[in-house]
């Protein structure tokens, strides 16, 4: 039984920005996708779970652990890959992982060596293990980040925008790795790429402006908007008109033509065609309910 329960979590920064508004989520074992535009509060939420910042009110519980209070206990089972991180440029990947493994409580040096070696193999950095981290490319650094997060068999893994800056092949490999891990643990994946969630996650939530606007199984969410998304091609000049008239959830500019998606319970008018809704439409629907349409 492994479950992370977030209840009524709120956070306002000292500069007045309200990052989290009464967030309640239940995150089961497996991959959990946290979707939201930039600045929606994803990172705030993740950092709060990762013991890096405080909440103003609400609670987070991981089984019996009170995450906000028992930080020490959380850290013992946590694997965290922040959105942005640096490395010690003059230390090799192997030494650094060994060092982190020690801090994660693996006292036996042979065991430590095995773990580090396996992780380096796993993220395919083994051949570079002796190289200084300062010489790593962006992708390699990201893989190193994954490796460090996996040390110590964590029960809770938080990865914040992990595929930013990775090439498609690398991203793919990365997703496979995550899926494999997600079989036994809670993996929270924050991203603003809808496709990632579609491909990977068994459950998800959409956050916008600090609030949870939707949560559940991706398929269920898609089903909830199925038949309510319509599209048509419009002139660029007409766009404001449509935006006024309908809930335009997204606009795509393709070969000089503007293709719009509109959310509506019924067919708005005959010029529209129905769309086979996907998660992206769910995402945009939920977000436009809260903010202006997003141009993609």
């Amino acid at each position: 039984m492994n479950e992370l329960v977030i209840s009524n979590l709120s956070k306002t920064y000292s500069n007045g920005v309200q990052a989290l508004k009464n967030v309640s989520l239940t995150i089961p074992r497996g991959m959990f996708g946290l979707l939201g535009p930039n600045g929606a509060g994803k990172s705030s939420l993740m950092r709060t779970i990762a013991t890096l910042q405080e909440a103003d009110s609400g609670s987070i519980r991981l089984n019996t652990i009170d995450v906000l209070r028992q930080k020490e206990d959380v850290r013992k089972i946590l694997g965290y890959l922040p959105q942005e991180f640096g490395v010690y440029p003059k230390i090799s990947a192997e030494t650094m992982l060994d060092h982190i493994a020690t801090l994660k409580g693996i006292r036996n040096s042979n065991e430590r060596k095995e773990v580090v070696e396996a992780l380096l193999q796993k993220v395919n950095l083994y051949q570079f293990r002796k190289k200084n981290l300062g010489t790593f490319s962006g992708g390699m650094k990201q893989r190193f980040g994954i490796a460090q997060a996996l040390i110590g068999n964590p029960k809770l893994i938080i990865v914040d925008e992990p595929t930013a800056g990775l090439d498609p092949a690398e991203r793919n490999r990365f997703h496979n790795l995550l899926s494999e891990i997600g079989l036994n643990t809670i993996v929270i994946l924050s991203t603003h790429i809808v496709e990632d969630v579609t491909n990977l996650c068994s459950s998800m939530a959409i956050i916008c402006m600090g609030e949870v606007v939707a949560q559940g199984n991706p398929n269920t969410l898609v089903a909830s908007v199925q038949g309510k998304i319509w599209k048509r091609v419009v002139n660029k000049e007409e766009l404001p008109l449509y935006q006024k008239e309908y809930q335009v959830i997204s606009t795509h500019l393709k070969a000089g033509l503007t293709n719009i998606h509109v959310y509506s319970d019924d067919l708005p008018d005959s010029t529209f065609e129905p769309v086979d809704a996907d998660l992206e439409d769910v995402y945009f629907t939920k977000i436009t309910g809260n903010a202006d349409a997003v141009a993609v």
Partner: protein
């Protein structure tokens, strides 16, 4: 394009708060300094005198190095740091435009920031009177030319130099840390210059290598009098010009090179080159790899081991850092060189004793330590954050204390490493110099018990500041700022209560005789006190430490509340209580047991006493005629119990019915003819700051007035018996009390004084004025004042006395007092020594006691008279015993031959600990400081044998001071000091020859000229001088030496002998004055040269002699025709330095032509004159022609600097072929 970048830079800076912060700091610092009068320079000169302004501008540029690095180091680095270079440089801008624009923009901002500091100076000078901290009259008119001159000559070139170098170094290396290291290197040149400038011979070099020109300025203005300080501007000439040229051209070259080398390509390509080798990443994920599950354990002992492991890692990180090593190397260089050049006296080195090797750690090394510890504490605290690894490291499952503790522990390791460096450098120095007396106990005591705590305290505070500020650069600024503020408060505002100044402790001095003496106890208490505060700060820091991403105070306080629990609270409370406890104990010792007063309180008390009691100064009191002293010394208890039985006689023509006693030591009893008296009045409002320990002491110290049981009629004599006790208890704020110590007691006291002594009055007119006291022009009565003529210079409670003393001490020590040893015995575990003086002496006695070894010798005169010579020395200080004995013998020879016979059968010299650095001549007894000559290294014949000289001076006092006992009138001390100087010079000349005198006279001239420049009242002539040491020692030496050269040594001595015969042992008033003395000198001088005696003794006049041209023509084989153009001028000044008149008459002046220097028989380098003769020269220019044998190399007017010349260096010139 340049313009756009330039303007952008200005706008960018204008929006940065830091720019205003820097400007504000400079403005306030200088504004506050000026309005409070915390400036160098004479108190007679204006607070905002031209001199002060110019010097302040230089100092501003030195302080400002940090600001320079912050402003000039970042304009290019900014694009690296924020990665904007990747696109910024893709804009259509040129490399030169970019670089010059950034440079010019930043430099303008830098200059404006420094102008804010200048404005602080200016406004401080204008608004100073409004604040009222200092008298309105102390602020002079605004002297804009001084500001302009200081800015153009110093400030602007300095910030150009430092700013340009920072800019260029960062541009070329793309590393900001280079800017840090750079700032250290600037200081190196400056510090080397500081070290060199104390040696006259090396002053030219110091002038040139001082990056900031501070030494150059100070040397150029060394001899400026008050008048000149107020208005004169430093001139761009000579060394100042060369200094500026050297450093400016260096900056210009570096700048040109940078502009030339800089291109965008290399600026961008920094890391790409390295990466290429690795980019062959196949990137195949091996998802099938199984990750083994390892056992994790989270135990306290595991954490503990981890903490040490992390600390070791961090320590390795720091000590392998190339910049750390660079700065450390700089520090070590200084540590070694400071030890190497050692502790010269008169330019003569000392042996590398352990205490010297230890003391150099506080010269320059300590500056490097502060820089290293402050910067690297910042690095360590912020390490994870600066590589942005903190979000990962902060989530690792380790407790706060582990991370926090490991960082601090790493710094402790660094402190431990640094603290051993003085040991290594010291021993290395000793080995190289062949000094094999290694005293590791001393090294370890000092380094572990005194030095290490200091480093730790510094680290603790810096650590706390960095935790609190939570941002690296501002953290550095705050850390350094704290020390600057403390330093300024102590040096300028005179706050010195150590309990309030973090990490400050009482001073200490290591002595071979007395070891660490009584200093260790207060040091230990203070160190415990500060370490406890440090621990407290660390504990608070741990609570406020930011772990995670939120650094705002609301969250930090919230977190701190979470972190506090009962054990934490309990330990916080315990440490606080312990801290307060030690603080209270220290307070009890410094302020209650001992009587701490601030400098201001002291002055107020002095003023109060003067107002209340100065009317007693001339109260008629009996005079002591016989002293029997019973001194019981208890060195282990720091206690001296002094009983004196005196005969006192009413020598006046009026009856005396009251004894006005005034005692610094508590009086146990006072008996007249056996009857104990009780004082009818007592006032101890100006208690001494030490040695007064109980209420009983308080009521028996200070002014105590007694009614005599019977009125003392003129001529009546009674017995007065007194018992006083000096005892040091606890410890004082300053830590220094030197009179009674464990080994090396040197106590001058034991009989309470009569009346009131004006010695303790405030002398500074500035301070007097503040307290409504009249200006004090002189400390002594005029020469025609019967009261002054009726008293002796050193003591007005007696004229001549007969003296006997019984001194007891611990059995392992020898105790000495003036007189001949009659017998010694042991009683009740104590050793007693009885002394009795032959004949009568002035009342000037002391008691000395230490574990001595004694060297004995005997002087035999031509007439068969013998004098026993005894040198009481520390057993290991045997290096120069022969030198002391030799000097005593040579002095006896000279003085007995040329003056009068020595009055005693014995002459003693006694070493005392180096807590004071003087020698003092009591009748047949000379205590002589440990740091003076006992450990001097006289192996180089080119160095002045000051041990010989100072000994001769002290022996000479047996004549000048103890045979002639001067009156208490203006000028009279010249009869003691000037004559002792002259006598010693003659002994030195006889022993070492004329050539050895050059260096000595050069120092004398330098000290005289700088002495008169820093005069606080006005200069006086030899005839009238009452208190200026630079007049009686240095001017006196110069005038008397030159006179002996002009009229002949024998003629001078004949005059002196005649005076001695007339004045020696005069037991009745009127006592000797300079007015009585001078005619003897005039009589010895031919009429044509009497002008020289008059100018020397009755006027203040300085020569300006100069050689303008010197050429030669070869006539024959070895014959040369030399043509010289010389200029001579003599100027008369008043006491404040105003020019009064110029000499109109012919002067008798040396003209010399020299060939290459040679060596004399002692191996000393000497000048070889081809021609040396005095000429009568009228003021103005003269062209002289000579024919000499031998190749002329140098020539000059007054080439030996016998005359007092304001610019002694331009008297001699190389001769060139015509």
């Amino acid at each position: 394009m340049f313009k756009d970048i330039f303007l952008f830079e200005l706008k960018y800076r204008a929006r940065r708060p830091a720019t205003y912060l820097y400007a504000l700091i400079l403005f306030l610092y200088f504004f506050i300094s000026i309005i409070n009068g915390w400036t160098p320079g004479s108190e007679k000169a204006y607070i905002n005198s031209a001199f002060v302004i110019q010097q302040a501008l230089i100092i501003m540029s030195i302080f400002g190095v940090l600001i320079c690095s912050a402003i000039m180091g970042v304009p290019v680095y900014r694009d690296i740091e924020h990665d904007t270079r990747s696109y910024f440089l893709s804009y259509p801008i040129t490399e030169k435009g970019y670089l010059l624009g950034r440079y010019a923009g930043s430099f303008v901002v830098l200059f404006l920031v420094f102008l804010a500091g200048t404005l602080g100076l200016l406004l401080g000078g204008i608004m100073g009177p409004l604040f009222g901290f200092e008298e309105t009259s102390r602020f002079g008119p605004v002297n804009f030319s001084a500001y302009a001159n200081g800015i153009i000559l110093f400030l602007l070139p300095n910030i150009f130099f430092t700013g340009t170098l920072f800019f260029c170094l960062v541009t070329l290396t793309r590393k900001i840390v280079v800017a840090y290291t750079g700032s250290i290197l600037f200081f190196v040149a400056y510090l080397v210059a500081n070290a060199l400038t104390s040696d006259i011979e090396k002053r030219n070099l110091a002038d040139l290598i001082d990056t900031f020109g501070l030494n150059t300025f100070q040397n150029a203005t060394r001899y400026w009098t008050v008048v000149e300080q107020n208005t004169s501007l430093a001139a761009l000439e000579g060394n100042t010009l060369w200094n500026r040229i050297i450093w400016m051209s260096m900056a210009a070259v570096v700048f040109a090179y940078t502009v030339f080398r800089f291109n965008f390509q290399s600026f961008l390509d920094v890391k790409l080159g390295k990466k290429k080798t690795i980019e062959l990443d196949l990137g195949i994920s091996k998802t099938h790899v199984h990750i083994p599950v390892a056992v994790q354990s989270f135990s306290a002992s595991g954490y503990f081991r981890e903490m040490f492991r992390l600390a070791k890692l961090e320590f390795t990180n720091v000590v392998t850092d190339i910049y750390f090593l660079g700065i450390l190397l700089g520090g070590l260089l200084f540590l070694f060189l400071d030890g190497w050049f050692g502790f010269p006296q008169y330019g003569t080195p000392s042996f590398p004793t352990t205490y010297y090797m230890l003391e150099v750690k506080d010269f320059n090394y300590i500056i490097f330590i502060y820089i290293l510890l402050i910067f690297y504490t910042g690095e360590v605290v912020h390490r994870d954050r600066s590589v942005r690894f903190n979000q990962i490291s902060d989530t690792l499952p380790v407790p706060n204390w582990l991370m926090y503790g490991s960082k601090f522990l790493a710094l402790v390791y660094i402190c431990l490493m640094l603290v051993h460096m003085p040991l290594i450098c010291g021993v290395l120095n000793q080995v190289i110099k062949g000094y094999y007396t290694f005293e590791f106990g001393k090294y370890f005591t000092d380094l572990y018990l005194i030095e290490l705590p200091e480093y730790l305290q510094l680290t603790m505070l810096t650590f706390f500041v960095h935790i609190l500020v939570n941002n690296k650069f501002p953290g550095h600024v705050v850390s350094i700022g704290i020390w600057v503020i403390m330093f300024s408060l102590r040096s300028f505002a005179e706050y010195d209560y150590n309990l309030f100044f973090y990490s400050y402790t009482p001073g200490y001095r290591i002595s071979d005789m007395n070891g660490f003496g009584h200093f260790l106890k207060p040091l230990a208490w203070f160190n415990v006190y500060w370490l406890l505060l440090g621990v407290l700060l660390l504990m608070i820091g741990n609570l406020l430490w930011v772990r995670g991403t939120e650094g705002d105070w609301q969250n930090r306080l919230k977190l701190a509340r979470h972190r506090i629990n009962t054990p934490v609270l309990a330990s916080l409370l315990t440490v606080t209580l312990l801290w307060i406890g030690t603080g209270s104990y220290i307070y009890y010792n410094t302020s209650i047991v001992n009587n701490y007063r601030t400098a201001e309180e002291n002055r107020n008390a002095q003023a109060e006493l003067e107002k209340k009691y100065s009317h007693l100064e001339r109260a008629l009191q009996p005079k002591i005629t016989d002293v029997k002293l019973y001194a019981d010394l208890y060195p282990n208890d720091f206690r001296a119990s002094m009983r004196a039985i005196c005969l006192i006689t009413n020598k006046w023509d009026k009856p005396i019915d009251t004894l006005y006693i005034n005692s610094n030591a508590p009086i146990r009893y006072l008996k007249i003819n056996g009857t104990a008296l009780e004082p009818f009045f007592q006032d101890a409002s100006l208690l001494p700051t030490e040695g007064i320990n109980t209420d009983a002491d308080r009521t028996h110290t200070g002014f105590l007035w007694y009614k005599l049981p019977q009125t003392l009629q003129p001529g009546d004599t009674v017995t007065m018996e007194t018992q006083t006790e000096l005892a040091y208890r606890g410890f004082t704020n300053s830590g220094i009390n030197r009179q009674v110590v464990e080994n090396g007691t040197f106590y001058t006291g034991g009989i309470p004084a009569f009346g009131y002594s004006s010695q303790g009055e405030l002398t500074s007119d500035k301070e007097r004025k503040k307290r409504n006291l009249p200006e004090k022009k002189y400390t002594q009565p005029a020469q025609d004042d019967p009261w002054g003529l009726g008293n002796l210079l050193f003591n007005d409670d007696a004229d001549y006395i007969t003296y006997e003393a019984v001194v007891s001490t611990t059995p392992d020590q020898i105790a000495v007092s003036p007189g001949y040893l009659q017998k010694s015995w042991e009683d009740n575990g104590r050793k007693y020594y009885q002394y009795k003086m032959e004949g009568e002496m002035d009342m000037f006695f002391t008691v000395v006691s230490a574990r001595y070894a004694v060297a004995k010798d005997q002087w035999k005169g031509q007439d068969g008279k013998t004098v026993n010579i005894e040198i009481f020395h520390h057993p290991t200080h045997t290096y120069n015993i022969d030198r002391f004995i030799g000097s005593v013998k040579a002095s006896m020879d000279y003085f007995n031959t040329n003056f009068t016979p020595y009055q005693y059968k014995q002459m003693r010299i006694l070493e005392f600990p180096r807590y004071a650095g003087f020698a003092q001549s009591f009748p047949n007894t000379v205590p002589y400081s440990e740091s003076f000559a006992w450990v001097g290294d006289f192996s180089d014949p080119d160095k002045t044998d000051y041990g010989f000289y100072v000994t001769a001076h002290e022996v000479a006092h047996q004549w000048w001071g103890h045979q002639v006992t001067p009156s208490n009138t203006r000028g009279a001390n010249q009869l003691s000091e000037t004559m002792a100087e002259y006598s010693a010079l003659m002994v030195l000349k006889k022993e070492y020859g004329e050539d050895a005198m050059q260096k000595f006279l050069k120092y004398a001239l330098d000290r005289y000229l700088s002495g008169r420049a820093s005069e606080r009242k006005f200069e006086e002539t030899l005839m009238q001088n009452d208190q200026r040491a630079y007049v009686w020692y240095q001017k006196g030496s110069l005038i008397m030496y030159a006179l002996a050269d002009y009229i002949g040594e024998d003629a001078v001595n004949k005059g002196l002998k005649a005076f001695l015969e007339k004045a020696a042992f005069r037991q009745k008033a009127p006592f000797a004055t300079t007015g009585e003395f001078l005619p003897y000198l005039m009589n010895a001088t031919p009429d044509s040269l009497q002008y020289f005696v008059v100018d020397g003794w009755e006027n203040i006049c300085l020569y300006e002699n100069r050689i303008k041209e010197a050429t030669y023509q070869k006539v024959k084989d070895d014959e040369y025709k030399v043509k010289l153009t010389v200029d001579t001028k003599k100027i008369y000044y008043d006491g404040t330095g105003n020019e009064m008149a110029q000499g109109k008459y012919k002067e008798y002046i040396d003209i010399g032509i020299f060939t290459e220097d040679g060596k004399n028989k002692q191996g000393m380098t000497v000048k070889k004159p081809l021609y040396l003769k005095k000429h009568w020269l009228a003021p103005g220019e003269h062209t002289l022609e000579f024919t000499v044998k031998g190749k002329p190399v140098r020539a000059g007017i007054d080439p030996y600097n016998k005359l007092i010349d304001r610019v002694p260096d331009d008297n001699v010139k190389d001769v060139s072929e015509e």
